[in-house]
């Protein structure tokens, strides 16, 4: 485990910090929204530690706040997280071989860690990026959720600062190297079009899964030697 930090470069640390800062603000707003929806302060905190998936957490709390049942909230959250299964199939190797690394590393399998790992040119750097991003975001997210839960409604709307633009822009920047490959790019464009077209008609989380349809046009993608 220790050896992976040798490939740590300041550039990676800076990039991860930028994403962690965005996650921290979003976490504070999650804590605040949860307590103002009537939850005790420790519930969003336990949720953030154990679920560790921003989208699903906002979704679940939102469903209950809108009068939905806890069961409906669980289903909505899980639908949003199904995409993590293919992420694990794609980057499962970078977690490490040991059982503990796998068990702990799997909890850190989120959009950002997957994107950071895939943006690295070699497996060693991918492993460093995955763990650095995962641990940093886990700390930033959970500390800020606690803070937000206590500060409560005094937190303004983080979207006024354009923070909802941080996640897609950061993700796009990380995906750029992979999108240089024409077959991957075409599949991604088709997939995104399908997901957007499906959004008005399907529950949250499902449209993104529909994007795998885009893979149909990679049938003739060449396997690099």
């Amino acid at each position: 485990m220790r050896s992976i930090w040798r490939t740590l470069d300041p550039g990676l640390l800076r990039d991860v910090s930028a994403v962690a800062a965005g996650a921290a603000v979003s976490g504070a707003s999650f804590g605040a929204i949860s307590t103002s929806a009537g939850m005790s302060w420790w519930l969003p905190v336990v949720m953030s530690l154990l679920v560790f998936a921003g989208g699903a957490q906002f979704m679940a709390v939102g469903v209950v706040a809108a009068g939905g049942s806890p069961a409906a909230a669980v289903v909505a959250g899980l639908l949003l997280n199904v995409r993590h299964l293919p992420f694990g199939l794609a980057v499962g190797d970078v977690l490490g071989k040991g059982l503990v690394q796998r068990l702990v590393g799997s909890h850190l399998l989120i959009d950002e860690t997957t994107a950071f790992a895939m943006a690295q040119p070699d497996p060693r750097k991918a492993k460093t990026a995955y763990w650095l991003c995962g641990i940093s975001l886990f700390i930033a997210w959970n500390v800020s959720v606690v803070a937000g839960a206590f500060i409560g409604q005094n937190i303004g709307d983080p979207n006024a600062f354009g923070l909802d633009a941080v996640f897609p822009a950061a993700l796009f920047a990380l995906l750029l190297p992979a999108l240089k490959d024409a077959a991957t790019r075409n599949a991604a464009l088709l997939g995104a079009a399908v997901a957007l077209a499906a959004t008005p008609f399907l529950p949250a989380g499902v449209p993104v899964l529909c994007a795998v349809v885009g893979l149909l046009i990679t049938a003739r993608q060449k396997v690099p030697a």
Binding site: L43, A60, V64, P86, P168, A169, L196
Partner: protein, 102 residues
């Protein structure tokens, strides 16, 4: 939100997350399938970029958000440092909202 619901969501999410790495190991995937898996992750992440840029709930996200993401995206494409990309995207969206553009 009840504690039981949180625990079920957490357990389900963890099972989903652990399945990928475990299956990948068990199945002895061919290079072709491995490539397909990594392409599918890119495709899913890109769809996530598209939906979180253009949609809020089941409707359109408004103009401020997509314009900010596009400005950040162009900066990324022109090889601007990652931090610049992120700050430009947020600042553009915030600026437009400040000016009253939703």
């Amino acid at each position: 939100m009840t504690l039981t619901a949180i625990l079920v969501l957490a357990a389900g999410t963890y099972v989903i997350r652990l399945s990928g790495p475990l299956l990948r190991d068990r199945l002895k995937l061919s290079d072709r399938v491995k490539l397909l898996m990594s392409t599918s992750a890119t495709v899913l992440l890109f769809a996530l970029v598209a939906t979180s840029t253009l949609t809020k709930g089941q409707g359109f996200a408004g103009l401020a958000l997509p314009i900010g993401v596009v400005v950040g995206g162009i900066a990324a494409w022109r090889k601007a440092p990652f931090v610049v990309v992120v700050v430009l995207a947020a600042a553009t969206t915030a600026g437009l909202r400040f000016l009253g553009v939703s």
